[in-house]
Symmetry: C2
Subunit: 276 residues, 2 copies
């Protein structure tokens, strides 16, 4: 999917919501556990319930990987199901991979071929040759970690270098020599919304994937104030607040209600910014 | 496995060799492709051939993941096979994972429970709470990326901070407040052997996992000169040079020959340093 199409979907759905499929088998409704593949069955019902409200879905690979080969089967079924709506939703494997070139090439194969995701999250620590194999795929995206939503982001990402830039700013600047705003996005946590001003100085046109709204404490209004651009430029992720809104048989209905609240708030943001 | 046991194995086998199971299905001998699980069959024969010469094995998870659920089955069979020799070899999942706390917890579960590895490689970019869930397992290890063997290491890892330390040095220093030399090791590439002097100033007692000898150009003698400590403190990884020494039916014999050459060089290093 190209940037233009992402923005078209945002305008059509009046939403820049990304639903995080952090599908924890210990938290899904009990009645699903007797189905053949409870994780996929849960995801399918969440997707069906939220499809009109979300422009992106982001399975968190750790939750699948922790179940071994079975988890990978559930992940495969989930992306195959999402790909029935290929023009309608952008798909992100939240995997935070990154290794030397010949190995990153295999990770790219895993997420762009074996599993046909539009995008994968990548960690920048190992530099250009760990990221570039993901950029060699047409119409696929790297979502590079810049400033994450967790406390640990202060350990290194906020460190100041001798050139007076912080590490995450150097990552943003350097990464622009590797790709462009048609094949790269950046992760910037909603818990650090005020820093989106600094981020936008460096990457005015890139899409940003913003986790941390909801359970982690980030506020949508702040993210929009500091981060929005002329093509919206934001995919705001919500996971637990939506998918675990209820642990009962009404989980999909409750998930839709939560997604709908966020969509309405996002519609206001888009209207205020004259984007719809 | 504890540090003392790793050193005992090093002295007994006169080797600090780690065999990297970067098992590329496009490179394994053709006659194996008709077996039920060619990747596992290849690994099994490599393990059998090199078990007396190596103290550690390190499957590179990307190679398995690129094959989807089938690859995860092969990885599971490989670690289960290795765990028949639990006191004899240290096992490392080369996965380079790392995410916010609740997600890293699931990655830890994947590699320490679903797959019973001794250690997993972790990327430091997201800081303490992305690493600490791996450290909560008794007798399990985090192998944290510090200074990697690839060209891209210069993009960020070698960046100088305002305190005049390079980023990888800050990672080494900071990580010591999270764990200790009984549950953490660090990745330092053999292609930067001279920098092991700087690394050893910060982490004199930790084991280092050193990739990059062989195919990537690093030299064992240099690694030993700059990196060895009183408990050896080195696990030197070799992958392609050993496992793909031959693409024919003699692949295991040739792998053993290559591993044996490295073991003999390592024995000399251990003798010169009065460790055996």
């Amino acid at each position: 999917m190209r940037k233009k199409e992402i923005f078209e979907n945002i305008k059509r759905k009046k939403s820049f919501l990304c639903v995080g499929l952090d599908t924890d088998i210990t938290k899904i409704p009990k009645h699903l556990l007797s189905t053949e593949d409870p994780v996929f069955e849960f995801n399918k019902q969440i997707i069906d319930a939220t499809l009109s409200l979300a422009v992106a879905y982001k399975p968190n690979v750790a939750f699948y990987e922790s179940l071994g080969a079975d988890g990978w089967m559930s992940l495969k079924k989930t992306i195959d199901y999402l790909n029935q709506f290929k023009d309608d939703v952008f798909t992100i494997a939240d995997a935070k991979r990154g290794d030397i070139g010949n190995t990153s090439k295999l990770y790219a194969k895993a997420f762009f071929e074996t599993l046909d995701f539009d995008a994968v999250t990548v960690a920048p620590y190992m530099g250009e040759d760990s990221v570039s194999p993901f950029l060699s795929y047409q119409d696929k995206w790297v979502v590079l970690l810049a400033l994450t939503s967790n406390k640990g982001a202060d350990d290194f990402q906020n460190s100041v270098l001798i050139n007076n830039n912080r590490l995450f700013e150097t990552v943003l600047t350097t990464a622009q020599t590797w790709g462009n705003d048609e094949n790269m996005m950046f992760v910037v946590g909603a818990t650090r919304a005020e820093m989106l001003t600094d981020v936008r100085k460096i990457v005015p046109n890139h899409f940003l994937l913003v986790p941390g709204v909801g359970a982690q404490g980030g506020k949508l209004e702040d993210v929009a104030t500091y981060g929005i651009n002329k093509e919206c430029g934001l995919l705001v992720n919500a996971s637990r607040n939506i998918i675990f809104a209820s642990a009962d048989k009404d989980f999909a209905i409750k998930a839709k209600e939560e997604a709908s609240k966020l969509q309405k708030d996002m519609q206001k943001v888009l209207e205020i910014n004259n984007l719809i």
